[in-house]
Amino acid sequence: MIEITDLQKIYRMGSVEVRALDGVTMDIAKGEFLGIMGASGSGKTTLLHMLGLLDYPSSGRIVIDGTDLGSLTDYERTMFRLYKLGYVFQDYALVPDLTVMENVSLPAMLRKDRTGEQIKKDSYEILQRIGLCDRRDHLPRELSGGQQQRVSIARAMVNRPDILFADEPCANLDSENSRMVLELFREINEEFRQTIVMVSHEDWHKDYFHRIVRLRDGKVVSDGFNGKSGVT
């Protein structure tokens, strides 16, 4: 589903060259729950941003479902994100002035293939699925961190994306809420055969991943299925 070939991201800070990603090559199959792990500064968030079309690589190639991302225009990248991808951010990233229902509906409202009724139905269903239907008219600030992150997951899922990206979604949550969010990801993955790519630095999160890719200094240092990892 995702083919990554010799991906590089180089930041220049004056005369110093920082290789955030240094020749990453890997494939991600449909339905995988992939964990990208590594120490701070290892390049895991950078890799996620490249895969999620939030940033441009310095070199290399990413192909998602046969589409070479390097060939897309800015508008096509936006539409690709809207139609194909879903995002869950570390700090929930909900629109503070929109209610839970409006936040969840927002990505669907922009799709040309959805009617108003359909958007309402899909948003309602996904909110029911995450157990926050009764809070649908609340504003994000009226919810706990765990609830906000679940709303964020609902927003990412409302368009039934091909790939769900999650950037350290439990970083601001306590362990109980973290577990609840991870369980939700697992259920989504199993129920919908949803491809999930998640960045994490918490070791205990690996229990939820099918496959774990470890990065160090922008390089893949290990890649393997859970409990069977090996150096690539």
Partner: protein, 404 residues
Amino acid sequence: MGKKELNVAFLLALRSLQRGSRSSVVLTVLIIAMCFTNMVFLPGLFNGIGQSITAQIVDYETGNVLVGPKSGEQYVNDLDAVLDLINGMPGVERATPHLTKAATLKYRGRVLGVSVRVIKPGDEKFVSPLYSKIIAGSYLGEDDTGEVIIGKAVAGDRTIKQEDEFQPSLGGVQVGDSITVEYGPGYSREYRVKGIYSTGWYSADQTIFTTWSDMEQVEGQTLDHAEYITVKTKPGYTEKFIKNELEQYGVAESVSTMSDLLEKGMGRALQSFAIINMVSLIVGIVITTVVLFIVITIKTINSRKQIGILRAIGVDKEVIMHNYGMQVVIMAVMGIFCGVILTFLISLYMAAHPVVTPEWSATLYLTPMDYVTNSLILFLASVVAGYVPAWQVSREDIQSAMRA
């Protein structure tokens, strides 16, 4: 940009205004309302002064149409015939003659040079509201002789010492007092002050009025000539129409409309007003644009992270730009509405309490077209001021915006 995208932009804009910082919205709306007031106030006041001056010139100097002597002549001669001709024309309310005599007034040791205007009080009532401006005593009767009405400025005030007076006066003449009028070397006449008037028009308040009958006594002959004739038009008739009609009917004298005279006499002053109005308008627009630009720039800078997130989840930058643009549009409409209400209330207040100076009294004179024009200008300025920073910030790359 489709309907769906515009709907989303509008939803985001509306929710931001409804649920975002209320104080920020109220402040911005007030700023726009103040900018609107700033844009229309000074031009409106100048228009008010212009209207006031024009009205006073019509009321106390020229009427709607002024008939003067033929070229090369000192007076309008064969007065009765000319008056009959003019008064008989459709659209003419009344024509009334005027003569002016230079004179020296004497009263209790005070000496003052003034103009004595000779009028036919009955006809004058149809042309000038002078009769309604009497503040003491009464207006002149048609056949009064030996009596005058004098302007408040000429009458003066007994409580003010001569050396403290702003302008020379007779030092406090009252109704019933006797004053001496010297018309020329060797001819003087005692007059009883029948009334004192105050028009608010400097030139009129600096003069005294007597009757045609009285001047005939002074001259010792029937007066069949006038310096000029002022003509009042009936409602629904334009000055231009009356002028053309007079010329067509064979009035050989010089005929001028009030507008012609105003153009000659005050053309430069009116041009100056127009220039000041334009400068004031441009300054107002610049201030409004800059203020709104700053307000929206701050708003968008504070929302950079959110803008980055919106873009990340697939919201097109056009939607984001229109979101902020529409916020400005909504606030501009609200601000302009408040500004219109505010200036309307000010104009009502000033109509009841005009700004009065020795030269003129002014109200805030604003036509519906002034409101429409200024509203449109301010609206366009607001749209530009809102959309430029919105356009800039929506084009920022996602990574930089999200890191903000």
